[in-house]
Structure formats: structure tokens, C-alpha cells
């Protein structure tokens, strides 16, 4: 286990370096920069500004300078929101995205697990059909459409929730539901498939033969196997949810990482974009490792290698 984690850590450092490099050169390959604007300052001033941020150097020199800064833990100031450092942007955005993410995840798990189990048990019934149709729609419909519908319903027709912003618990509800809906649908389908798979196994028949109630069989015996696909889905999903949903945060004006991510990419805010890509890499990597470890806890057939 220790060796496994150590090896993973080493790999992570390599991955981070590779991601840093690719991101850096991709970012500098797209046209425009943080200081391109509809209003061009006189050329001398433009040069002075660019020189201050080393943007006048050849790209590979900029790369080495940036890499050096990163190795020293200096992520720099935001280009576009100069009053804030990348650290401050992340420190302000991560808890926001995490809160929203955890709420969305709780909603998705509750709804997804329930719907999946019910569907599997009532296989072929009307309930199964309607739940799975809903789930298919949930996966197919992009979440900004869901957001639009919910805003029309719960902001304008039946005004219970605010239209956007951050700070009060009421402002959390709509975005959490929108963000969780797609994941709930995914989880429901995964659980149903996993459950159906398990319910046909011999040991389930044995459990029934012993005279156990359906409820006990499903929750205590079948769940074990059925939940495995969900766990592997949850790893990357959690990382994605924590770093924020790009669209949802934009639509509801939530100051989370997803919002920062989109803006930094479109505005060529090199430092913030790089910081977020690195953070995302770390989170994704960590979550995948956690999933691998969770597998050994949940399924004795899997061994860490």
C-alpha cells in the first residue's frame, strides 16, 4: 500500500510537469495575450507592459522562468485581476466550488442510488421505464438547459429562489440541483445496470433461498457489487464537481473555480489558467488514487499492484 502510494506520488510529479509544459505551450500558441485589447496603447507603452511580465522574451525562456517560479511555489498575480494573486483566486474559489459540489453530489447520490435500485428491483415496470427515461433525458439535456428551465420555474413563475449570486443558503439550491442532475442520472443508470448484473448471481439466489427479505438482499448483499461502477465513476466526477461546473457557475454568477477557469481561458489570464489546470490535475490524480484504494476496501477481488 505504501509503495503503491509512493509510486503514485512520483508519477504525479511527472504528470504535473507534463501538464504544465503542454498547457504552457498551448496557451502561448493561441493568438492574443493578456494585454491585447480593442484599444491599442502606443507601441512603446505596449512594449514596456509586456517587458514587465516577461512577455517580450522568447516563449521557451518564459517557460523556464514560469517553471522556476512554480518550483518555488510562486504562482504569480492574475493578469486580468491584478489586485489578486493566483493563490487568492484559488483560495476564494475552491471552498465555493467545493460547497456547491458536495451539495450537488449529495443530491446526485441520494437521487441516483434510490432511482437506480428501485428501477432494478422493479425491472420492466412502469416505474423503471419512467425513471430510466428521466435519467436518459437527464444525461442528454445539457445542464444549462436544466438551469434555464429551473430559473423560469423557480425564479419567475414561482419566485422562491434568487436568480444568481453567492452568500445565502437560498442561492445554493438551484445551482446544486442543476449541477447534480446530470450526475444523478448517470449514477441511476450505473446502479441499475450493476444491480441487474448482481441480482442474477448465484449468491443472491442463495440469499433469497435462505429466506431473506428483498429489502435485506438488495441493500446488504446486492449493493456491494452494484456500487462498484459508481465508485469508479465518482472519482473523476468528484474532481470535476469540486473544480466547479463551468456552465452552472457562469449562469448563476457563482464565484467558484469553474467561473474563474472559463474567464481565465477566454481572457488569456495565463497565470490563473495555469494555476487552475495544475489544481485540477492534482485533484483528478488524487481522486483516481482514492478510487483505486477504495476498490480494495470495497471489493476483495481487487489488489493494488
Amino acid at each position: 500500500m505504501i509503495w503503491f502510494l509512493l509510486r503514485r506520488l512520483l508519477w504525479m510529479i511527472g504528470t504535473l510537469w507534463a501538464v504544465f509544459t503542454v498547457t504552457f505551450f498551448l496557451m502561448h500558441a493561441v493568438p492574443g495575450g493578456p494585454f491585447s485589447s480593442e484599444r491599442q496603447p502606443p507601441i512603446g507603452i505596449k512594449r514596456a507592459i509586456e517587458a514587465r511580465y516577461n512577455l517580450d522574451l522568447p516563449v521557451w525562456q518564459q517557460y523556464l522562468l514560469e517553471l522556476e517560479k512554480y518550483l518555488h511555489g510562486d504562482f504569480g498575480l492574475s493578469f486580468k485581476m491584478g489586485d489578486f494573486s493566483v493563490r487568492e483566486v484559488i483560495a476564494a474559489g475552491l471552498p465555493v466550488s467545493a460547497t456547491l459540489g458536495v451539495l450537488a453530489l449529495a443530491f446526485a447520490l441520494t437521487l441516483g442510488l434510490t432511482a437506480g435500485i428501485v428501477s432494478a428491483v422493479r425491472r420492466g415496470g412502469l416505474l423503471d421505464f419512467s425513471l430510466m427515461s428521466l435519467a436518459t433525458i437527464g444525461i442528454a439535456v445539457p445542464n444549462f438547459v436544466v438551469a434555464g428551465l429551473l430559473i423560469i420555474l423557480f425564479v419567475f413563475i414561482w419566485p422562491v429562489f434568487p436568480a444568481g449570486g453567492w452568500g445565502t443558503p437560498m442561492q445554493l439550491v438551484l445551482p446544486a440541483v442543476c449541477l447534480g442532475a446530470t450526475f444523478a442520472a448517470e449514477i441511476a443508470r450505473l446502479v441499475r445496470t450493476g444491480m441487474l448484473d448482481v441480482l442474477n448471481q448465484d449468491y443472491i439466489r442463495t440469499a433469497y433461498a435462505k429466506g431473506l427479505m428483498t429489502r435485506a438482499v438488495v441493500l446488504h448483499h446486492a449493493m456491494k457489487g452494484a456500487i462498484l461502477p459508481v465508485v469508479s465513476f465518482l472519482g473523476p466526477a468528484v474532481a470535476g464537481i469540486l473544480t466547479g461546473s463551468v456552465v452552472i457557475e457562469y449562469v448563476f454568477a457563482i464565484p467558484g473555480l469553474g467561473y474563474h477557469f472559463v474567464q481565465s481561458a477566454t481572457q488569456r489570464d495565463y497565470t490563473v489558467a495555469m494555476g487552475l489546470v495544475m489544481l485540477y490535475t492534482v485533484l483528478l490524480y488524487t481522486m483516481n488514487t482514492v478510487v483505486d484504494v477504495a476498490y480494495t476496501v470495497l471489493d476483495p477481488r481487487v489488489k493494488l499492484n
Binding site: 507603452i45 489586485d83 458536495v102 452568500g167
Partner: protein, 674 residues
């Protein structure tokens, strides 16, 4: 899975959920502010020097105050920190008298030196910003930023070490002297040292990084030599190998130039010292502190709109003590920031909320009626509109253009829809045939039915444009280009050698990705096809890609637009001088350049406007741009908000805004929405 494993999993999740919810709930939202508005984007900084556009302007105009202010109704100049001023007959010297009771939010007085400090800071090439050029109206302002000086000029040397007792972020120690010689470094690839050129100013070059030059400077009768080194490189700085020979060479030359007496001993070569910067002496720049309350400004040329300009928000002062104590960005934090405007910074969460509260130290605080203002930086105009309609904010400055027809149809009185000092146009690349032919450009312009574009596509009540400078400014009459005339357009195109578009190559039209831009471009494409028989390919581009394609002139036809910075035709017209940074069409006209230059010298306002009109007439005949329409503002503001007026620049000082509480209550009683 064993029970312990699953329970642990569920328990951990529950715990996380509870913790997250508790955290969310513990962040009690601050009490609602008196006045709330949506700012379209997170601002770059509250530092006036770093301002970029209107979003920064809305905040900075609340936090800071310049020498003059702009009247909220029509933006004419009214006193600000300066209570009165005198202008010399040649209109080049302005003497501003600062009011005694102008104070910073920490209680200290706003003095003339604060302006000098801030303006020097903005002119310093180490801190130059997008709006630095607004100080190039000052005598020698441009020379200071661009390091244009030669032997014999007074110079100042900033050292890396700070003077004793200076604040932690103060400027380095400054020495004053006279430049004796400027020694350029040899080109990086050639080992042989170049002959030192004495008159050429150092040319910062983007591609070939060579060593910094060496300056030979006489300070108090002693000869000293300096080389500029950036902070980062200071520890590893060493004497450049080419320096010794070059200095010796330069000394020989200068001593022989100084005196014909060959017996004069060549002074010993001085040690080279590292310096942070070598600049023209700031005393040469046209801004002087006469005393604490008198500031004298000397301009390069008469600038009729200068009084208005010094009220422009990027020219507002910052507090030198505050900036030098905390540095940037430390001083911009709410706990440190010191401001001199009607409001001060109370709190700020990035991309979430900026709270301003009334500044009790402000000289006119008695007339400021708002106690607090919340600014929400919200990028999506649709979200902003939702929040406005749901009663969550009092003002949104930009309703989404897709919603405008509906808002107009509803005849909403809170939708302020007034002309703006903004023109939307298309640039034509005058360096690429066949667009280098004036007849072709005229044909293209005349073949566009702009009324159809405005009525059927834009649908926001915009007015079609036939000039570069929008109408509405008293005293100036815009010069117009021809009206829509497809018949004449065909004749012009035939005259240019393309009857019915025969032989005319396909043009590439680019615009930044946006539904409205695309619809307009498609109509233009169809009109040009129908009226002239020419083909146009459309290409949408991501914002930054479009900007750089425009700047590098990698296009045939390119969407553009310009928002006036100040209320004077010059803000539009000086854009199209030869090689202007915002010209971006390759168009060049000697007569036009001359007229723009003449207008800068003309002291008589009426004559000056006539000159500018003549310049615009050339522009509208040559047509490097095809104006399409003048923009209109899209403000939505609650009826209970008073002191808010439509203005041509769509700028709205916050200090005069007040809320009628009775009306607000009435609005709330009726549901507080809609």
C-alpha cells in the same frame, strides 16, 4: 464490502455534507447595501492607473477623485480636488488650486505632490499602463516614458537601494546629473563591439535581447557610469566584457568634442554601477508642485479638452504613503486602501462582490447620500437581467442585446435607451487589392442598406451611421459619407474595373464570435452579393484571435467599433492617423495627418472643430472604415434611484445618486420585482 467500510463511506460523506452546509451558512451575507449594481466584469484593479474601461471606471469614480469632476447630467467639467484654475492665454499652462479641505480617507490632506507622485509613477516606463499616454499631453511626458534623451540632457538615475528611512515600497534613491554619453551594447551575435552611437535613444526591441546600454553621467562634477539592471538579475549582474573598451572610446570622443585642446587629459574611466533605471530628469516634465495646494501643468500643445481629461478616472491620484507602505497589490486590499473619493473600499471578494461605503473624510461628504454600494461583477448579461427583474439589483448597465426588442416592446420606463458616443463600423484593409482602390471602398459602403441592418437585425433602436464621429456633441458637425445607393455603387465598382463584380476576388470578412455580429455580417454578405455581385466569405473568431487579426491586418473586412474616451471628436479622429496603433487599416493620408496635427495647435474652438470636420470629410470620402450604426446605451435602473442621468459616454458618477426610500418601499410592497 463489509459493513464497517460502507458505514465509514456514508459517514464520511455525511460529515462532509454537514461541514459544507455549515460553512455555507456561516458566511452570513452582509446586510444589503443602499444601492446595488452589476458591473459587467471583475475589474482589473481599483488602482486608477491600471484602469481599462467602463467597469473599472464605475468603481474608480466612486473611490477616487481627480483634479476635476464630470457633471453627472452632461459630463461638463466641474471642480474636483481643484476648486478653481487658471489657463494661460496660449492654453498651454494650467494652474490648479487644490481645495484646503480635500482629504484622503485616512484624514491626511490631498496635496499637489500626490498628483505629481502618481503621474510620475504612471509615466515611469517600469510602471507604464494602457492610459499612460494620457500624460503624454504634458510637456516631455512622452520623452520621460520613452527614454528619449541625448548627451547634454538632464537625467535622473534610480538606484536599487532605497533612501534611508524610506517606506518599504518607495522608489529607489534618485541621483540627478547630466548625460555625457550613451553607449549602446554591441549586437548579441557580433563579437566586435559597435561604435558607440551617442544620439540614438535606446530602442527596446522585442526580438533581439541585447545587453543594456551604459550611460556616462556627470553628477556633481564627477563622472559616473550606469547600466540598467532589473531587480531579478541584480544578484548575478557583472561588468559586461565590452564595457571597458567602449567607455574608453566614448570618453576620448567626448573629450575631443568638448575642447579642441588635445592636451586636455581624458578623465579616468569610472566604475560601472548598476541602476534600476536612467530617465530624463522628471523636472523637465510639465507637471510642478508650486506648493501643497497649487499644481502647475505645462502642456506640449494647447489641448482644448484637457480640463475634461484631468477628470478622467485613470488620472486620479493614489495615496503615495499607502502605496509605498504596502506595495502593489497589497495596498488595494480593503484593510489598507486609502482613497480620496466620495466612497472608500469596505470589502471585496474576487468575482463575487465589492462593497464601498461612504467616505466621511470626503470634502463634499455632506452631499453624498448613499451610505453603501454593492458592486457585483457578473459576466453574463442574461444573469444580470434575471437578477434585475427578480429585484436583486438596482442597476444593470448593459441589458443583453437579445432582450432589447422585448424591453422596447414593453415600453419599460426603467430601460434607459439613449445615444452613446460610440460608433460600430467595419474596417477595410487598404493594403490589400482591390480594397486599396478608393472607388471599391466607396462602392462597398454605398451598397450597404444600413437601415435594414438596424431595423431587421440589431433591433435596439440604433441609428444608422454615416460618419465616424457620432452626433450629439454641441459645436461639432460630423462629416457624412454617401447614403445607400446601389445604382451608384455598381457604377463605382465598374469604374474601378469590376463591372457587375466581374473579376472581383472573394473577400474575407472577420468578426468576433457573437450572434449579433454574425447576423449583421450575413446581411452585409447578402447585400454585397445582391447589389454588387461580389462574394464575401464570413469567418467568426474568438475574441483574442479577432483582436490580433485586426491589429496585424490579417483580414479584408473586419468588424470594429470605438467608444469615445472623452467628449471631443479627437477621440475618434486621431485613431486614423498614419500608423496609429488603432488605425489597423493600413490607410494613410498626408492631408489628414496634417489636419489632425493642425487641430492640436488651434486655440480657437470653432476653428478647431472646423479643422476636425475637414479631416473627417477626408476620412468619409476615403472610407478606410464603413460606419454602420451609432450605439445606444442599455441601462436598466429602478425608478426609485435618483441622480442618475443618461450621458453620451455612458458614465455615471456615483456620488450624486440617491434612493427615495418611500418609493423603494412602495416598490417592495408591490412584490419588489418586474
Amino acid at each position: 464490502m463489509n459493513f464497517r467500510g460502507r458505514n465509514w463511506f456514508v459517514a464520511a460523506l455525511l460529515l462532509l455534507l454537514i461541514a459544507a452546509t455549515a460553512w455555507a451558512l456561516s458566511n452570513k451575507p452582509p446586510q444589503a447595501a443602499d444601492f446595488t449594481f452589476v458591473n459587467n466584469t471583475e475589474i482589473r484593479s481599483i488602482d486608477p492607473a491600471l484602469a481599462l474601461g467602463q467597469p473599472e471606471g464605475r468603481v474608480i469614480m466612486g473611490l477616487f477623485e481627480g483634479l476635476t469632476n464630470w457633471d453627472p447630467k452632461d459630463l461638463h467639467t466641474i471642480p474636483g480636488v481643484a476648486e478653481r484654475w487658471e489657463i494661460s492665454p496660449d492654453q498651454r499652462t494650467y494652474t490648479f488650486h487644490l481645495r484646503d479641505n480635500a482629504k484622503w480617507s485616512d484624514g491626511s490632506p490631498v496635496v499637489a505632490g500626490d498628483f505629481v507622485w502618481q503621474w510620475r509613477h504612471m509615466l515611469d516606463p517600469l510602471y507604464a499602463t494602457e492610459y499612460t499616454y494620457q500624460h503624454w499631453y504634458l510637456e516631455n511626458g512622452e520623452r520621460y516614458t520613452s527614454k528619449q534623451f541625448g548627451p547634454g540632457d538632464p537625467v535622473e538615475i534610480e538606484l536599487h537601494q532605497r533612501p534611508d528611512g524610506a517606506l518599504p515600497f518607495a522608489r529607489g534613491k534618485v541621483l540627478h546629473g547630466k548625460l555625457i554619453a550613451f553607449i549602446a551594447a554591441p549586437a548579441p551575435n557580433s563579437s566586435a563591439s559597435l561604435p558607440p552611437s551617442e544620439n540614438a535613444p535606446p530602442q527596446p526591441s522585442a526580438t533581439d535581447k541585447k545587453d543594456e546600454p551604459i550611460y556616462l553621467i556627470e553628477i556633481g562634477g564627477h563622472l559616473r557610469a550606469f547600466q540598467t539592471v532589473v531587480d531579478r538579475d541584480l544578484p548575478k549582474w557583472s561588468l559586461p566584457p565590452w564595457a571597458a573598451a567602449a567607455i574608453k572610446d566614448a570618453l576620448e570622443k567626448s573629450s575631443t568634442a568638448d575642447s579642441k585642446d588635445k592636451t586636455d587629459a581624458i578623465p579616468p574611466a569610472p566604475q560601472i554601477e548598476p541602476s534600476k533605471n536612467v530617465l530624463l530628469d522628471f523636472s523637465e516634465v510639465g507637471v510642478k508642485e508650486i506648493d501643497d495646494h497649487t499644481l502647475q501643468i505645462h502642456l506640449k500643445a494647447a489641448t482644448p479638452y484637457y480640463l475634461q481629461l484631468v477628470g478622467f478616472y485613470p488620472l486620479a491620484p493614489t495615496n503615495p504613503r499607502c502605496v509605498e507602505t504596502y506595495g502593489y497589490p497589497g495596498w488595494t486590499k480593503p484593510e489598507h486602501a486609502v482613497t480620496n473619493g466620495p466612497f472608500k473600499l469596505d470589502s471585496r471578494v474576487v468575482r463575487s462582490r465589492l462593497r464601498m461605503v461612504k467616505n466621511d473624510q470626503y470634502w463634499n461628504a455632506a452631499n453624498v447620500r448613499l451610505n453603501s454600494i454593492d458592486v457585483f461583477p457578473i459576466e453574463s448579461s442574461a444573469t444580470a437581467l434575471n437578477m434585475y427583474l427578480n429585484g436583486e439589483v438596482d442597476w444593470i448597465p448593459l441589458a443583453p442585446n437579445t432582450a432589447v426588442p422585448e424591453l422596447l416592446a414593453q415600453k419599460r420606463t426603467d430601460f434607459k435607451h439613449t445615444p452613446e458616443y460610440t460608433t460600430d463600423f467595419y474596417r477595410l484593409n487598404c493594403t490589400r487589392p482591390p480594397l486599396d482602390n478608393k472607388l471599391v471602398r466607396q462602392a462597398l459602403a454605398m451598397a450597404l442598406d444600413k437601415q435594414q441592418i438596424v431595423d431587421a437585425v440589431v433591433r435596439g433602436g440604433e441609428v444608422i451611421a454615416r460618419s465616424c464621429v457620432p452626433p450629439g456633441l454641441p459645436g461639432y458637425e460630423s462629416a457624412m459619407c454617401s447614403e445607400y445607393n446601389p445604382q451608384r455603387a455598381r457604377e463605382l465598382l465598374a469604374q474601378a474595373g469590376y463591372p457587375n463584380g466581374k473579376g472581383f476576388r472573394k473577400l474575407e470578412l472577420i468578426y468576433n464570435t457573437d450572434e449579433l455580429n454574425q447576423n449583421i455580417a450575413e446581411v452585409m454578405q447578402a447585400q454585397w452579393k445582391e447589389n454588387l455581385g461580389i462574394d464575401v466569405g464570413l469567418q467568426n473568431m474568438e475574441w483574442n484571435a479577432w483582436l490580433s487579426a485586426s491589429a496585424n491586418m490579417e483580414y479584408d473586412v473586419c468588424r470594429g467599433g470605438w467608444i469615445g474616451d472623452y467628449l471631443d471628436p479627437n477621440t475618434f479622429l486621431d485613431m486614423f492617423v498614419t500608423d496609429g496603433g488603432n488605425n489597423q487599416t493600413g490607410w494613410s493620408n498626408k492631408k489628414y495627418d496634417q489636419l489632425i496635427d493642425d487641430s492640436r495647435r488651434e486655440g480657437d474652438p470653432a476653428k478647431r472643430m472646423k479643422i476636425l470636420h475637414d479631416a473627417e470629410a477626408i476620412l468619409m470620402d476615403e472610407l478606410p472604415i464603413v460606419p454602420i450604426y451609432y450605439r445606444v446605451s442599455r441601462n436598466m435602473i429602478r425608478p426609485y434611484v435618483h441622480g442618475f442621468y443618461p450621458t453620451l459616454l455612458d458614465l455615471h458618477p456615483l456620488d450624486t445618486i440617491w434612493i427615495d426610500e418611500a418609493e423603494k418601499q412602495q416598490f417592495k410592497d408591490h412584490g419588489g420585482r418586474g
